[in-house]
């Protein structure tokens, strides 16, 4: 099993490296370089040349890649083209905000969706299951901003329970922070919940049709015990994967949600940077998002290895 774990870890590191190469190469292979991007239409050949020199753009690509990556790992994310400030400084507080919002959403969505998904699967095709499956089908069809605006109109504008703008600041205490992120978090929960529930349901139903489940029923075990002790241990690996996959949805969803609620997070920073074509910022944000995503998938796979005796104790 150790070999298996080591292999998975190595694969994770390799994937992050490949990802970083892709992110770096994306800006290399494609036409136009940073210097022209900075100067835009006002560029003269001389000014472009001087910026290129200053930024070391004449070095071969692999050299610049290694420099970019080592700097990145040391916390130097480069400077923004738009305002000339160090990127690390801009990202620091925003990363915290984004992680806070994502964690609040995940903390509600993950347990809730697993419980609801398992409940739907136990009584597959029952009334609860059918209601759930219609509701989730509708929910996965909603774009994030639709859910967000509906929530704003109902909860913020008409009921006035929560603010429609999520302006968070470092001086707030936890209660205030939670109050402020209530609506964006709720939006994210609804987006992720539907996906996660459908997938959890499907994987539990897959397991529930196995002969060993029938065997457990024929041993005279009560329904809940059959599910908890016989179905869940085997559904664990797929459910872990479902969770990891949906945390990826969360990453995508968070960008839109931050824009809707004008929440000062990484997503908004990245969208702004794309609009301004501020490539170094996009690269830095992209690598952080992608790294988180790859890391989550790796953790999911490792947990799945631990949950499966065939992998844990190969013959």
């Amino acid at each position: 099993m150790l070999a298996l774990l080591a292999r998975r870890l190595a694969l994770g590191v390799l994937t992050i490296l490949v990802t970083s190469v892709l992110i770096f190469a994306g800006t290399e292979v494609l036409p136009g370089d940073v210097a022209t991007a900075i100067l835009g239409r006002s560029a003269t050949p001389e000014s472009i040349e001087s910026i290129r020199k200053a930024m070391g753009l004449h070095d071969p690509a692999p050299v610049r890649y290694v420099r970019w990556l080592t700097n990145f790992l040391q916390g130097d994310l480069g400077t923004s083209l738009a305002n000339g400030r160090p990127i690390a400084q801009q990202i620091a507080s925003r990363l915290g905000n984004t992680l806070f919002l994502a964690s609040v959403a995940a903390a509600i969505a993950v347990p809730l969706s697993i419980i609801l998904g398992v409940m739907a699967a136990i009584r597959a095709n029952g009334l609860f299951d059918r209601a759930i499956s219609v509701a989730t089908l509708v929910a996965i069809s909603f774009p994030e901003f639709f859910i967000a605006y509906v929530l704003i109109i109902i909860v913020a504008v008409n009921l006035g329970w929560f603010p429609s703008l999520a302006s968070i600041s470092p001086v707030m205490d936890l209660g205030d922070r939670l109050y402020v992120v209530a609506l964006p978090a709720l939006t994210l929960v609804m987006v992720v919940l539907a996906h996660m529930m459908r997938m959890t349901r499907a994987s539990v139903i897959g397991v529930m049709s196995s002969p060993y489940i029938e065997m457990a029923v024929l041993k005279g075990l009560p329904g809940w015990r059959v599910v908890v002790q016989h179905a869940l241990p085997n559904a664990l690996a797929p459910i872990i994967n479902v969770v990891a996959l949906n945390l990826a949805y969360l990453i995508v969803g968070i960008i839109v949600v931050e824009v809707v609620f004008v929440y000062p997070g990484m997503g908004q920073l990245m969208v702004d940077a794309v609009a301004k074509r501020d490539v170094p910022v996009v690269q830095a944000c992209g690598l952080i998002f992608a790294g988180t995503y790859v890391g989550l998938n790796m953790i999911a796979d490792i947990l799945a290895i631990f949950s499966n005796p065939r992998l844990r104790r190969p013959r």
Binding site: G26, S141, F146, I153, V252, A275, A290, Y293
Partner: protein, 273 residues
Amino acid sequence: MRLFGQRLSVAATIGLVIIVVNILAAVLAPVVAPYGEADIIGDVWDAPETSQTVFGLDNLGRDMFSRLLYGARTTITIALITTLLSFTIGCVFGFAAAVAGGWLDMLLSRIVDALMAIPTLIFALLVLSVLGTSIPVLIGTIAVLDSTRVFRLSRAVAMNIVPLEYVEAARLRGEGLAWVMRREVLPNALPPLIAEFGLRFCFTFLFIAALSFLGLGIQPPFADWGGMVRDNAQAISFGGIAPLIPAAAIAILTIGVNLVVDWILSIHAARRA
């Protein structure tokens, strides 16, 4: 009503009606729309009653309903072209990898793994930041990124069919690769692939809408649903529901496609049982 020799469920019929209505709206937009795409006909966010229109006016005083029809044209066409492109790329490579196996399969699978290691939106934002936003870039980027998922599915579906004995029988007969793919593998892979086409369309459609909403997708003067949500977002602070109208249009079409997809998957599952 019947489709593929199966009775349509109520849900699937609703889905189909939604899809047909949307397609008609897209095709007939210039004929049906009371006003032009960019015609300013009154006050900003004028209500339906005062402006004598179906959904009122938008943030520049244009007719919301007309723009919705034109938006259907732009948004659906681009999403459809993108999906077709990603499907062609994904299926051809996916089938080839499954049937040929060996190094080709290894190579393609590793490339796809690498592309899929990065969330699609992040990747798309990277490309757009470098290339700038234009419709060809949008279509190309999303099609390539999305084709990775089509590749995975079509490869998996084909992998389940290739070891079956009727395929082996054809190979033992001496049939060529093309014949095996076209006559033995493809017909049996169709139901899951059709369902996947619907899902990929939904994904692309929502994805483009999200990008447009972020201001990075389809650019003015074209009316498109995601952009319309963005343009009218400010109305919310005055208690207006203007951004909800295009957002609801997006939601309804997606629901329609999903209903049909669900039905296709369920008859496929029943047939296999």
